[in-house]
Symmetry: C2
């Protein structure tokens, strides 16, 4: 039996489903919120309800936003000739935070995985093929994770897009900024040597 | 600029205020919730709103519950003669989870702290003195944290309750279950030696 009533237990269980919060930190979070109900708890309840209601997937790129097309797709000053393909919306946000790219995006919604039973029909590949066929698209950058599944998917897409008359590129492999050679894996070191360039 | 609209950014900022969630994990949590909106996001929004609305502090012991008096205070089969004094509601819940105690509780709402400017008038000490004076109260267990502030507060309360005609006790100090001597601090080891008992 717990001293916290069923309402609090239910709240704790729901909080514990969030990534990064276990049962113990969910309990701490619930308790802290109950002590700050006007500054944290009520605004969070409203923000969650509003987000669940209003936010939807963009029908062009798959990003999540309150508008469709999303803010990135409807921004007029971005370069329509380049499409950056990412696995998830989180990757899209990471690239936007870095501010490294000013073209358009395409969210696949995952990667091919024989183990998890994810085939080409489970990803938004048809939409990508369609966008690649458009006359304004000149380049497609495959910004997939450097994992086995990510690279398998990149190969698959690169084959698929071969006849579409667009240039297909991938992100460079090499030593990350701030990376110490001693701590890098062999694959990264080999890739950095193979792609070496004039200093 | 972020690809996530202001609604999502606000949600992320509110989530990042929870203990245990930083900005990065708050973003992951927001993203995961947007993908599970019917199973996680909407129920959480409702549970938060409901909790903020309904849950209040018990006027007897200070526990948080939807009823006042709380479920612990209104449970008829608990022992009215023993009151366990704890710092926070979280401590009360921890003791209830352990199931170690079947009396009543009293939540102080913190500890005396010269550094943080917490004096006796900031804690629920008047309420405790009143409950101690009641004829049915026989024992008061000070279950405060074994920190400097916790122990200062325990001494203060023990002085304060000296004339009330109740027995005032504190939790035992010693080797925790599963504790290895080599990893315990000197204070705990000394306390365990001083309080040694027949095997």
């Amino acid at each position: 039996m717990s001293a916290a009533g069923p309402e609090i237990e239910r709240l704790i269980q729901l909080l514990a489903r969030l990534p990064g919060l276990g049962p113990r930190s969910a309990r701490r979070a619930a308790l802290q919120m109950l002590q700050k109900r006007d500054t944290v708890m009520k605004p969070l309840a409203e923000a969650l309800g509003e987000a669940a209601e209003k936010i939807k997937a963009c029908s062009i790129c798959g990003n999540l936003d309150v508008t469709d097309p999303c803010a990135v797709c409807s921004e007029p000053r971005r370069d329509d000739s380049v499409i950056c393909v990412v696995e998830t919306v989180g990757d899209l946000w990471a690239l936007e935070r870095a501010g490294a790219f000013k073209g358009r995006y395409h969210v696949l919604g995952g990667v091919l995985s024989a183990l998890d039973g994810v085939g080409p029909e489970d990803l938004n590949i048809a939409g990508l093929a369609e966008r690649a066929a458009s006359s304004q698209t000149k380049e497609i950058i495959l910004a997939l994770n450097a994992t086995v599944d990510g690279q398998t998917t990149a190969h698959f897409l690169s084959d698929k897009l071969a006849g579409a008359g667009v240039e297909v590129t991938t992100l460079a492999r090499g030593v990350p900024v701030g990376g110490e050679l001693d701590y890098l894996d062999d694959g990264t070191l080999s890739a950095a040597f193979r792609s070496r360039r004039p200093a």
